[in-house]
């Protein structure tokens, strides 16, 4: 079981690393050259300065971030007589910044950097909870695995509270099921779908199953009340999943066909919960 939780965290960390890499901060090079004082005289440099800075100086628009090669500082002394000092950098965006990076005020927040957007997670959860409302096709545009992983862990936790230690089965079945439905959807739809999108949708639609396993803590589901409840929850999960898939992939007339394999998958989860 330690393997499996390690596997979970490893997957999540890989995902986070990939998303932070894309938001690499371009503000790495910051000059210690104060433009404001140099505005009038800066245009004279055109011929003597290197190609880097000539493209940066435009009429009337001070460029806040320039990489200043060392020879520029010498010429600026000659022409303008302005003594360069390692003073505070002028940037129109963050007056409180320091010289070498560290814009603490306009850095994106940590949650944005790792790609967790609570608003979107909440919207997707609401879409799942209301299977009758038609879904918006654009909500699945960013693949978000945070919500699904939280839901999987919550499902395992509620199963644990009901006395069944079955994290391994939950993990294995979800991986196999995601793979199977990914294959089927790619074969059935005109546009393809990526594995992350399938995993994300299936993970979100696991939410009603968590409610079922929550009920399993309170009373045994093997009687006459449990089986219809399980069937209703399976139907709910698969309808939501197929609704989101249909709207994302623009498949017409195939909702029941997509819902059936999802129902089979959630049926296996329900078997775990009930028996």
């Amino acid at each position: 079981m330690q393997f499996l939780s390690a596997g979970f965290t490893l997957q999540w960390l890989l995902y986070l690393r990939m998303s932070t890499f894309e938001q690499f901060n371009p503000d790495f090079y910051q000059s210690n050259y104060d433009i404001n004082d140099q505005q009038q005289t800066s245009y004279n440099y055109g011929g003597s300065s290197g190609p880097d800075s000539s493209s940066e100086f435009e009429n009337g628009h001070p460029q806040p971030k320039i990489f200043v090669p060392s020879e520029m500082t010498q010429t600026s002394n000659l022409y303008a007589g302005h003594i360069l000092q390692p003073q505070e950098l002028y940037t129109p965006f963050s007056p409180s910044s320091t010289i070498y990076g560290g814009d603490t005020d306009d850095e994106p927040s940590l949650l944005e950097e790792i790609g967790i957007n609570f608003d979107h997670i909440w919207q997707k959860t609401l879409t799942v909870l209301n299977p009758m409302k038609p879904a918006d096709g654009s909500i699945m545009n960013e693949t978000d695995l945070t919500g699904p992983i939280v839901f999987c862990l919550a499902f395992g936790a509620t199963l644990l509270l009901a006395g069944k230690v079955q994290f391994g089965y939950v993990y294995g079945i979800s991986v196999l099921g995601c793979l199977a439905i990914h294959t089927l959807l790619n074969l059935m739809s005109v546009t393809g779908v990526s594995y992350g999108c399938v995993a994300s949708v299936l993970g979100y639609c696991l939410l009603p199953m968590i409610i079922l396993s929550g009920c399993a803590i309170l009373f045994s589901l093997q009687g006459m009340t449990g089986i219809p409840l399980a069937l209703i929850v399976i139907g709910w999960c698969s309808l939501s999943a197929s609704k989101i898939f249909i709207s994302t992939l623009a498949m017409e007339g195939q909702q029941l066909l997509v819902a059936y394999p999802c129902a089979l998958l959630y049926g296996i989860f329900a078997l775990l919960t009930v028996f």
Binding site: M140, N141, E142, T143, H182, T183, L184, N186, L187, M188, S189, T191, G192, V193, S194, Y195, G196, C197, T248, L249, E252, G253, Q254, Q255, L256, L257, Y260, P261, L264, G267, I268, F275
Partner: protein
């Protein structure tokens, strides 16, 4: 994230081993087709026209032609059969994950053996037909629908229900297979009902009937131990 052509599209390495674009044809189905096809599998007696329409040398997609074979129903039926078998064994307290694995592998092996036997006999009889291997897999997979019906009836109504439902589905699948394969294996004249003499056509007729007759045997063999 959503790539045109899909993750298993052309240009992918898998394309060399599994003909993905051909497979996509067999999954181009919609709900109406599946409903009609399931109805045909259970009750094929009223259907008149069994021919598949062609469009410039390639068959029309299953979406618009109910006679075309597809792979969605066989695939789903196979998986449902496994789950129903697990459920049936569970109600008799004979369930364990290993038994489910054994059921899955034995059903799969019998399917492969059947398809290979049909391919071999088609080769020996030298039939010029446009039946591909995937078509044969699809036809062999259609009997799982009858098997599921039988087992479910057996779970609800006991052994009598099982025999009645299985008997009905066996006869239906025999009629379905004969009427479908007749058009593909027999020569065109014989398929239209004109009596054509000659050992060649007789052999083909025997082959069609043999393929159809083997279906009920498999259906009984794979389900009788599930119903007590």
């Amino acid at each position: 994230m959503m790539r045109v052509g899909g993750a298993i599209g052309a240009g992918n390495h898998i394309d060399r081993f599994i003909p993905v674009s051909k497979l996509k044809y067999y999954f181009a189905v919609d709900t109406i087709y599946v409903g009609k096809k399931l109805g045909l599998l259970i009750f094929p007696y009223m259907h008149q026209n069994w021919e598949v329409r062609y469009q410039q040398d390639s068959p029309v997609a299953p979406r618009v032609e109910v006679n075309a074979p597809d792979l969605y129903i066989p695939a789903m039926a196979f998986i449902t059969y496994l789950l129903v078998a697990g459920f049936a064994l569970g109600t008799q307290s004979r369930f364990s994950p290993e038994v489910l694995g054994m059921q899955a592998s034995s059903a799969l092996i019998w399917l492969i053996i059947e398809v290979l036997a049909i391919l071999l006999s088609l080769y020996l009889v030298t039939v010029n037909t446009d039946l591909t291997t995937i078509d044969l897999i699809a036809f062999a997979g259609y009997k799982y629908v009858g098997m599921i019906t039988g087992v479910v009836a057996g779970l609800i109504f006991g052994r009598t229900g099982y025999y009645i439902a299985l008997g009905w589905c066996c006869i239906s699948i025999v009629v379905f297979m004969i009427r479908t394969l007749r058009l593909k294996i027999l020569s065109e004249a014989a398929a239209e009902g004109v009596l054509v003499r000659g050992t060649r056509n007789q052999l083909r007729m025997y082959l069609t009937m043999a393929i159809a007759a083997v279906q009920p045997i498999f259906m009984y063999w794979l389900t009788f131990h599930l119903v007590r």
